[in-house]
Symmetry: C2
Subunit: 250 residues, 2 copies
């Protein structure tokens, strides 16, 4: 179908997906660019609609889904990137609510920067985490910058949005040892940690780290030793180092 | 001094610092926000001028430097952030061109994303790198987003902008072992690397990694093992994991 008017109801609906409120309501979100759309198609996530700028050729396999060809003006209206590639998808949110036996979990508490959350999810896939739980104070998982920063990793592991405290209970009930990451040297130095086979790692806010309540519920707290002249690490970096260490040790 | 006109010559000069060409010509750059300015003041970098939005109070210690109070309209013209804090500094570029005896070097080849370059510099300080060399194909070191992502780490170690090949010669002449980071498993797995006491790590472009010429000049190539369903790590993350491992091992 060809759409040339920005006033088209469908265009208005797509544009609304820029906002979290509407993404939650529609249980869907936008995915932009060739690479990310390919990642969706190679996963168990489902594209509802594909949006293509007129004149752009797309693989025939895309024709399994409803395709809308649109004018430059319409595309610009829906796109959220500065230099777009002329392809967009509306994708259904696909959160896991069932709880199979996860053995390696990452719990994310109040990460605010979209790039950081995306990077963390990307590293979680790289280092064999079974599922990621994103707490309710974090930036929205379906924010366009989060999706972009995951580089598609988002589509390759179960992600749950939930109260983290419920998942601490889950861990305790399933004999999964919980490691909180701390910013100070009161904790155990990462290199001294020999993780158990089943583990959960909690990471926290850019400024304040993991909330005290959650840290107190952890079985152990760990920190990454850094130079005294250094204030801290980026949270995406710190998380990735911990996950790397754990993936090596188990 | 109070400045209220956006047409003021000084304002025009400040605004030109948004562009690399002019930053290079003036050998200076803009630094924004309380935290970063404090970091400059606590380092051996020199603020030339401080720019303060009218009504904002600043520490008396700032009066050691020329201070310009400006109107909201002028501040908005010079600021490069969406939600600014009303304080800016013009800082002299402060690259090291002398070569003291560096033992731990990080060589950066064609990193394009400002956030990635900033994060890498932040981790270099955290993991005791003596100096960072930024090759000529990377994003500009004094780009505002790079400066912001370093969180001030930029001011706490020597940074050199130079041809990387010259620094490979430097390493060979100073008995510093050079480790290239590779994207494939042909290389040595990071955990198997027992770094020598003096080392240089080369990291590369987001998409293509370290250029082949540089990799061929490295003494060893290393990679970080990741899950097969994962395509790659963020370059800031990968660099930080390597630097962490090296800092632990030496």
């Amino acid at each position: 179908m060809f759409i040339e008017s920005r006033q088209n109801q469908r265009v208005k609906r797509w544009k609304k997906l820029h906002k979290k409120k509407y993404r939650d309501q529609e249980q869907s979100f936008l995915v932009e660019g060739w690479h990310l759309i390919e990642e969706v198609l190679n996963s168990d996530w489902t594209p509802q609609e594909l949006i293509v700028l007129e004149g752009i050729e797309y693989p025939t396999i895309w024709e399994r889904y409803p395709i809308y060809t649109v004018t430059q003006a319409v595309f610009d209206e829906v796109s959220q990137t500065e230099s777009h590639q002329g392809v967009l998808a509306v994708v259904s949110q696909n959160e896991s609510d069932h709880k199979p036996t996860y053995h390696k979990l990452l719990l994310i508490d109040s990460v605010q920067d979209p790039g950081n959350l995306g990077t963390i999810i990307r590293s979680a896939v790289a280092f064999n985490i079974d599922a990621v739980v994103v707490g309710q104070d974090s930036v929205d998982l379906y924010n366009d910058k989060v999706v972009r920063s995951t580089q598609g990793a988002l589509f390759h592991l179960p992600i749950i949005r939930d109260e983290l405290s419920r998942w601490l209970d889950y861990c305790h009930n399933h004999n999964i040892k919980v490691y909180g990451t701390a910013l100070d040297e009161q904790a155990l130095s990462l290199s001294q940690v020999q993780p158990s086979e089943k583990y959960a790692v909690i990471v926290g806010n850019e400024g304040s780290g993991v909330s005290e309540t959650l840290l107190n519920s952890a079985d152990e707290t760990v920190y990454i030793p850094i130079a005294t002249k250094s204030e801290s690490l980026n949270v995406g970096v710190a998380t990735s180092i911990v996950l790397y260490h754990f993936s090596q040790a188990t």
